[in-house]
Amino acid sequence: MNELVFFINNVVIAGSVTGSIYAIGAVGVTLVFSIMRFAHFAHADMMTFGAFMVLLLTLAFPGVGGVVGLPTPVVMLPLAIVLTALLAVGIDKAFYKPLRAHGVKPIVLVIGSLGVTLMLQGLIRLFAGTGAQNLYLAGERKEIYRIALPIEGVRAPIVITEPQIILFVLTVTAVVGLHLFLNRSRLGKAMRAMSDNPDLARASGINTNTIVAVTWVIAGGLAAIAGTLLSLDVTFKPDLSFFLLLPIFAAAIVGGVGHPYGAIAGGFVVGFAETLAVFNWSVLLRPFRDSLPEWLAQAGNLAFVGTEYKIVVPFFILVAILVWRPTGIFKGKVI
């Protein structure tokens, strides 16, 4: 039974954490794709930017969290969301809109977004340096909850940290909020309409510039949430971007590009796949040691890939989905 708790801690909780972060990131990518029809490579650096804003705000107002009873970075998150959303809209105005106005092929926009991602990377690291930094400043600490199971013989508790709980709450809030926005609000429906058929949306009098701006606000806001949650769970690392891009794009494609709910599902698929792949399965075999053949019982490491090869997992998923079902499990709109 201790092994089961170990499994829950290292796979169920860890996988949900990674999955939530990928899901929120992938929703942004998929929304941008469905409205503007290009793969936005600067998304991971927008996440980093959001987390960096939280870091700066936390440094500027270190004591706020204590007043409210939440960690300061979480209190600063809404402001960071606004800043990142503004950044996203600004980037679009400055770099993508002129390209769109020239009627370039989508792939040129992709290259443009790579240029933008380098600019963001350069700026962030110019100011933040390249080292990892903890969002929890001195004086605040991560609460860790240990839940002992009321079962005979189980000594190991289930361990969950405060940022992880916040992460789950925020993920659910973001998903529900997005669902309500897309299905209930006039702008949300217009967004779906434009993703379905941009020409008809224009012919219906929908102002496409407004929709584009709204899309960037949402994508930027979600990126800020995802980046901050990632940094809260571990630390703020300014140089993650290319390692985040692949799982996020894999998640968006698995879910079917242009399909927000698919992206959420895809995020969890990729997150759990990563966690399961680096999990050392020999731990689960330990209780049955006596009844196993010797070579299997002796195996010390039964992980599929080492943690250093984690990035292979989303790539493998990406390749598999492109080979078997390029439209994704929920059938995306555009290939």
Partner: protein, 234 residues
């Protein structure tokens, strides 16, 4: 003052002119029909009216006000509705949501107009929660017309509304067009089924090579032996 007037309109795509001087006039309660052979510039003319392509010369007036080269969303505000030939619904949105999108600029209209549209097209009421992409071709055409009517346009532009429909639905669509017109909406439509379309038309415009070849009332065009010989298949 005519509802819609086009004077010597020239225009096309990427420097290649398709329209070489088209004239047309439609009064407030009229049905205007554009017919002509393939490549005559029928749909192009309709797109020019709706601001989807640049008018390089000439002018288009809506109630005397120049409107050429205004963006489509401005034209919708000014009381124009447009139904493209294909891809005329939002496939993943429900029927109701499709209709709501038609009134995007007039959110106050939604409740009242939804009721009106369901009265005109009863089948849509039954399917209002179904994604429009799952409907049959004829029902989609109804959704498309309903969507355009939601904004209470003064004039409705239809691009080959009966293309690819069975004869049964074709008649139904023509009936609806007449009904809509009877309710006070001006109509300008492009049609392949020239005979049936001219039969309900107040004005007919026969285009060829981007210019008016014949312009008269629908009945007169139908009766004209020359039109019949060259454009209506004998």
């Amino acid at each position: 003052m005519p509802l819609l007037e086009a004077r010597d309109v020239h225009g096309g795509y990427g420097g290649m002119n398709i329209l070489n001087g088209v004239n047309m006039t439609i009064e407030a309660d009229e049905i205007g029909v554009i017919v002509g052979p393939n490549g005559a510039g029928k749909s192009t003319m309709l797109k020019a009216v709706f601001g989807l392509l640049t008018v390089s010369q000439g002018e288009i007036l809506l109630r005397g006000e120049p409107i050429h080269n205004l963006p489509p969303n401005k034209l919708v505000q000014k009381g124009m509705g447009f139904i493209p030939q294909e891809k005329n619904v939002f496939p993943s949105l429900t029927v109701k949501e499709n209709l709501e999108m038609g009134a995007f600029l007039k959110p106050g209209n939604v409740k009242r107009m939804l009721k009106n549209i369901y009265d005109v097209f009863p089948p849509l009421y039954d399917k209002r929660h179904q994604p429009a992409g799952e409907l049959s071709g004829g029902q989609r055409q109804m959704v498309a017309m309903g969507r355009a009517l939601m904004a209470e346009p003064e004039i409705l532009l239809l691009d080959e509304p009966t293309a690819g429909l069975s004869p049964l639905y074709m008649n139904e669509i023509f009936e609806r067009v007449k009904e809509i017109n009877a309710a006070g909406v001006g109509i300008l439509m492009v049609e392949q089924n020239a005979k049936q379309a001219l039969a309900i038309a107040d004005k007919g415009f026969v285009l060829a090579a981007g210019q008016n070849r014949f312009t008269d009332t629908g009945a007169a065009l139908l009766a004209d032996p020359e039109v019949a010989k060259s454009f209506l298949g004998g």
